[in-house]
């Protein structure tokens, strides 16, 4: 795992070196961020500060996310892109607490077409499930980060199958939420703490928050070549927000 995240770090710094240093404006808008350095905010190789996950939960999440979207010849995977940090900030914030989730009972298991019907908020669901998973892995003697990639995949598939009860959370429900949020963190704007240096957007060629194609739309079939743009940038391509701070809206 170390070797993998190192490689994705090198890839992301390679791209980040094109970006000028943080400006005074950036510091002014993010007063709690560290003093200006030669590394733009949002691209440091510092480990995320986990506010929601405890240490053993974070280890599982980092390994699991990296198997869901692995680093490869195209570039960073979920870990290099900062997805575990994204998950941590989302689950520790309003979304984790049940934002936009109708929460009144009674709680009845429904049909597949009726959707999510558990009483857990996303934050509660992750804590419940991760406690059961880590207990299970402890009893096997091998935490996820120390398994081979093949064994990690096999373990994740056993969760995806959905039959395991994780403290009241069907493992398939946990797996689906983990996968969905991993994809969100990979592709959402870097201000939310994942997609570090817009690495996922570069991989597919999505220009991000850039949004004026009036003169390009009828140039049919021409590859659109432009650096992607984040919500956190001003016109000079500085990233204003620290990905370790939840950009809550």
């Amino acid at each position: 795992m170390d070797r993998v995240s190192r490689r994705s770090f090198v890839a992301s710094i390679g791209a980040a070196s094109l970006v000028p240093a943080a400006s005074a404006l950036a510091v002014e808008q993010a007063p709690s961020a560290p003093a200006p350095s030669h590394t733009p905010l949002g691209t440091q190789d510092t480990a995320p500060v986990y506010l929601f996950f405890n240490a053993s939960e974070a280890r599982f999440i980092e390994s699991a996310c990296e198997r869901l979207i692995p680093a490869d010849e195209h570039g960073a995977g979920a870990l290099g892109a900062g997805v575990p940090n994204y998950l941590d900030k989302q689950l520790g914030g309003a979304w984790g607490a049940g934002e936009r989730l109708y929460r009144s009972g009674p709680w009845v298991a429904g049909s597949a077409s009726q959707g999510y019907q558990l009483p857990f908020t996303p934050g509660e669901l992750f804590h419940q499930a991760l406690r059961a998973i880590n207990r299970d892995l402890d009893s096997r003697g091998t935490p996820l980060p120390r398994m081979t990639a093949e064994a990690q995949d096999a373990y994740l598939k056993s969760l995806e199958g959905g039959t395991v009860d994780l403290n009241g959370v069907p493992s398939g429900v946990f797996f689906d939420m983990l996968l969905k949020m991993t994809v969100e963190g990979f592709f959402s704007d870097p201000v939310y703490g994942g997609n570090r240096d817009m690495v996922a957007w570069r991989m597919i060629g999505f220009p991000g928050a850039y949004a004026d194609y009036y003169d390009s739309i009828d140039r049919h079939g021409v590859k659109f070549e432009r650096e992607p743009m984040s919500l956190g940038e001003d016109g000079e391509r500085h990233i204003h927000s620290d990905p370790n701070i939840p950009a809550h809206l």
Partner: protein
């Protein structure tokens, strides 16, 4: 403690597209109008501005502009034998909230329905015989005809400034437009938007197969426009953040860009936001509305007396408002008696993905919500249904609305859902895929309906709306038939792989399909099968008008907004010129 307010002429429930138009017309005619909006006031500046508006996580995934379902959800079941459970997170459909309503986050796809649609029961019987349909199908005529509505379609399109190309002006077929459309009185207000690459590919392939492609009518405007109200709009820049978003550019026709500036300047109109209407109050005869009771954002309860009540909220909420106010007889599926909640319909959405080589750059992120090239050859009754066992159809189009990657990362069937195989496929196909949208009609049936939930409540303690819905066999057959035709078009484009996804049952609330919920306060000529008459006036309480897509007796092959705009002008004309001159029933029962 309820505070009783001073009586006004008109109270409007919901200040979205319909509410803004009716309030503007009545305030301009000199009536005192109060508009009650449950959400917040919001405007192009500052609320809709970039870069913050270009945030896929916040708007697409977290659904920032949608009805707050922690306070007000809908319960759902496929069959009446099941227990309905709350839709705890919106997915399948996305009702909006706030000033401007759901129209703020629409895509601007601005179709008319066809003459056939308004007389669907009569014309289906005439063409295919009375035994053609499944006996459970409850389609019916609207009580208005296309010819009744044409001037109002025209007025609404000119309010919006819709960009398109006419195909039939007063019966004369015009090259470049949709030859299947019912006659329109004149050309669109503005020319079509520029064509996306996917649209051009579709147009050539569809033409080669003998079909009739045309540019999708768009209310993301192709050029600057000043509407008849004197409000100015800009040209769309194809930002790719349209549906589920508000437009930062004044380029999408929404109440803020077409009519609210005029309405809010009129001293006869008062907007009150953060006001949740609890019910329409009736007098002791229960044949006359006295006004409404609402609770404001601070939790205070008010009674607003009014001579005329217009409910102009989202289709589902119009139905719920009548049920909570006990106006009209609720529908009972066991006896098929009653009307409120009857004939709930939806839309039968299918899709086709065409995958190209990596040297074909589609650039899906360059898009307006309504950029697209369309055929209507398999929509409505534009093809012979004899022997097919279904009615209705779909428009087929390369409708490229966005390339926002959390939601949009098409991969061929058989791709793993995670891991390196998934990542490889996403990278390989993201910029090299053309998606077709198949926008299918929806028949009403005896089994599909809306009522009040016996168990679950909203934040104010009132019952949630309960939806009982599954796709009728008629519509699943239609989806299979039309999807096969669309796959042929994908192949004719030269794609190396074409994957058709015809809509299949059961209906699920967990997958986005469309926010085109219709029916429940159906219009018509017979009080035993309709809630409102042809002027959208309640049969039971004549000083209540219910204006919304809830009036549609079934849903057609096209996006419903333009038809709702036409019905709004049709109804407000009747209110102004007939009802207010002599309040009472406009049609005798």
């Amino acid at each position: 403690m309820t505070q009783r307010l001073k009586e006004v002429d008109v109270v409007v429930i919901g200040v979205g597209m319909v509410g803004s138009i009716v309030a503007k017309e009545l305030a301009a005619a000199g009536y005192k109008v109060v508009g009650l909006e449950r959400g917040e006031a919001r405007f192009t500046v500052p609320q809709f501005q970039s870069p913050a508006i270009h945030d896929e996580l916040r708007f697409d995934i977290r659904k920032a502009l949608m009805q707050d379902n922690t306070r007000e959800a809908v319960t759902f079941r496929n069959q009446s034998s099941e227990t309905a459970l709350p839709i705890r997170r919106w997915e399948s459909f996305l009702p909006g909230t706030g000033l401007g309503g759901s129209m703020v986050h629409w895509n601007g796809q601005t179709y008319r329905f066809q003459a056939n649609d308004f007389e669907l029961a009569t014309r289906t019987r005439a063409r295919y015989g009375s035994k053609f349909l499944d006996p459970d199908v409850t389609i019916q005529d609207w009580g208005v005809t296309y010819d009744d509505l044409e001037p109002h379609y025209d007025r609404f399109e000119y309010l919006l400034g819709t960009s398109g190309k006419a195909g039939n002006i007063k019966g004369k077929i015009v090259p470049g437009g949709d030859p299947h459309e019912s006659p329109r009185s004149r050309e669109y207000p503005t020319p079509p938007q520029k064509e996306h690459y996917s649209g051009a590919m579709f147009r050539r392939a569809a033409s080669s197969l003998g079909y009739h492609p045309f540019p999708q009518p768009s209310s993301n405007l192709s050029q600057p426009y000043t509407n008849p109200e004197g409000v100015k709009l800009n040209a769309c820049v194809f930002c790719g953040f349209c549906e589920r978003y508000a437009c930062e550019h004044f380029a999408k026709s929404v109440p803020q860009t077409i009519i609210l500036p005029v309405l809010l300047a009129n001293p006869n109109f008062e907007l009150r936001t953060g006001c949740q209407v609890q019910r329409i109050n009736l007098d002791s005869t229960r044949k006359k509305a006295k006004g409404v009771t609402y609770i404001d954002a601070a939790g205070r309860e008010f009674e607003q007396p009014a001579s005329l009540v217009i409910t102009s909220s989202f289709a589902l909420n119009n139905v719920r408002m009548l049920l909570l106010s006990r106006i009209g007889t609720p529908y009972d599926p066991t006896t098929a008696k009653g009307v409120v909640g009857r004939n709930y319909a939806y839309q039968t959405m299918s899709s086709v993905a065409s995958f190209f080589d990596e040297d074909v750059f589609i650039n899906p992120f360059m898009a307006s919500g309504a950029s697209g090239t369309i055929i209507n050859d398999f929509a409505g009754d534009n093809f012979d249904h004899s022997g097919l066992g279904f009615i209705g159809g779909s428009f087929i189009g390369a409708v490229n609305t966005n390339g926002r990657p959390i939601q949009y990362h098409p991969v061929p069937p058989g791709t793993p859902s995670w891991g390196k195989g998934w990542k490889d496929a996403v990278i390989k196909h993201y910029n090299h895929t053309v998606m077709f949208s198949l926008h299918g009609s929806s028949v009403s049936t005896r089994q599909n309906y809306l009522d009040l939930d016996p168990t679950y409540k909203d934040a104010w303690g009132q019952p949630l709306l309960r939806m009982t819905f599954d796709f009728p066999q008629n519509d699943l057959k239609m989806a299979a038939h039309v999807t096969a035709k669309a796959v042929e078009i994908g192949k004719a484009m030269g794609a190396k792989e074409v994957a058709g996804s015809p809509r299949k049952g059961p209906y699920t609330t967990t997958q986005y399909q469309t926010t085109h919920n219709t029916g429940g306060t159906v219009m018509g000529g017979d009080p035993s099968t309709s809630v409102v008459n042809r002027y959208l006036q309640s049969w039971d309480v004549p000083n209540v008008f219910v204006i919304g897509a809830s009036a549609y007796p079934q849903n057609a092959s096209w996006n419903p907004t333009n038809t709702l705009g036409a019905l709004t002008y049709w109804a407000i004309d009747a209110i102004k010129h007939k009802y207010l001159k002599n309040p009472g029933r406009l049609v005798s029962a």
